[in-house]
């Protein structure tokens, strides 16, 4: 661990997570929602890295690698769903797909 206190790095992770959550709640475009989810996942990975650096273990980076692969799978499936939604509804508005019908 370098001279950075872990509390500040955790605070940065919390700020980024809250920004991503705000983006998910505020935006209606599905691509922006996906980007905000990416920001949130990234913040979670930062929290893992900070914890691993604070305790001097490589487990934080291992967890970050797992989070990374999870984010890759999530964004591929999410973008396939976005394409499918665009072909169904001809829009990217998340409110257009709010009805669970057919």
């Amino acid at each position: 661990m370098t001279g950075i206190p872990p509390e500040h790095a955790i605070l940065l992770a919390a700020i980024l997570f809250l920004l991503g959550l705000t983006g998910v709640l505020v935006r209606r475009n599905v691509i922006f929602i996906l980007m905000s989810i990416e920001v949130m996942i990234n913040a979670a990975g930062l929290a893992f890295i900070v914890a691993g650096a604070a305790w001097g273990q490589p487990d934080g980076q291992v967890m970050f690698i797992f989070i990374l692969s999870m984010a890759a799978a999530e964004v591929s499936v999410g973008l396939a769903l976005v394409l499918r939604m665009y072909h169904c509804f001809k829009t990217l508005d998340a409110d257009a797909a709010s009805k669970m019908r057919g």
């Binding site: 505020v26 935006r27 691509i31 990374l68 591929s76 973008l79």
Partner: protein
């Protein structure tokens, strides 16, 4: 190193704010790249260069490229920009922002103000272990730390390089930082996690393929009754490449065995113009047989 961390974290926060407030998707993607790069810098200053490299390669490389592909493919016009701008009026988000700022202030007070006055026993214990860990590491890396203050006073961005070099030279001091330790842990106690991650990636691949393929078949099944009644432009546009491909040689259709749109459309055209019905059926029968074989091979 501290200054780099704070500057890059400020950049990350600012870029993320700009990501969630842009109305144009491409601008937001650019700010997202900036944010991810700043996060990689943060990882590097935290002593995780391997995670920083992975962040740049996978996040800022692959995932953002996927998002850019979709944005370019969908080609949102000014309609969606106006829609998002209408959603982002200040009267809508001032209240939630104020409330979340209050929550953020509380969180900052809890996180930063805790070491000054430890009220709970658990936090005291974790702080003590943390301090001992840090002192251990500073003791171990004392030998390579003599040069760093001069360099960092001259050039702050380069001062992260001696840390990496010391981490490479004596891995005893940097068991949490070197990629070797990460790889050993990844394929040692976490090998079941690696298997699960590969399974997850395979599931994501299959899901993306299924979602992309299902759309084509559904479009054809939706357009085939329309094509029978021969009134919709969708059916005509679906039949147009088939009429073009009626003059193509046989190798053209046999060289593309996976494309379903060429193999499923000829019945429509055979209904619409019965002259080419029999050659189409004869011509595409090996194609459909190849597809069956492919599906059987994929099923095994």
């Amino acid at each position: 190193m501290n200054v780099i961390f704070y500057i890059s974290s400020a950049v990350a926060v600012f870029a993320t704010i700009l990501v969630i407030t842009r109305t144009d998707a491409v601008h937001a993607l650019l700010y997202l790249v900036v944010s991810l790069l700043a996060m990689a810098m943060v990882f590097f200053t935290l002593g995780a260069p391997f995670a920083a490299a992975l962040e740049v390669v996978i996040y800022a490389g692959a995932i953002v490229v996927l998002l850019v592909f979709v944005v370019m493919m969908l080609n949102q016009g000014p309609v969606s920009i106006n829609q998002e701008r209408a959603w982002l009026t200040p009267g809508m988000w001032v209240g939630p922002v104020a409330l979340s700022l209050v929550l953020l202030g509380e969180l900052a007070y809890v996180l930063v103000g805790q070491p000054a006055s430890p009220p709970v026993g658990q936090s005291d214990r974790s702080d003590g272990s943390d301090r001992s860990d840090r002192s251990d590491q500073s003791d171990m890396s004392d030998g390579s730390e003599g040069l760093r203050p001069q360099v960092s006073s001259l050039q702050p961005p380069v001062s992260s390089l001696p840390l990496l070099q010391s981490a490479i030279r004596n891995p005893q001091s940097a068991i949490s930082q070197s990629p070797k330790a990460v790889g050993l842990a990844l394929f040692g106690p976490y090998v079941i996690g690696v298997e699960l991650a590969s399974l997850l990636l395979l599931a994501g691949l299959v899901a993306a393929f299924h979602l992309g393929k299902h759309e084509d078949t559904e479009r054809e099944s939706a357009s085939s009754p329309v094509g029978q009644f021969a009134s919709s432009p969708v059916g005509q546009s679906a039949c147009r490449p088939v009429n073009q491909s009626a003059s193509r040689p046989v190798n053209q259709s046999a060289s593309r065995p996976v494309c379903q749109s060429t193999s499923l459309q000829p019945p429509i055209s055979s209904i619409r113009n019965p002259k080419s019905a029999i050659p189409n059926l004869f011509r595409l029968s090996p194609d459909s047989g190849l597809q069956e074989k492919d599906k059987g091979g994929a099923g095994k």
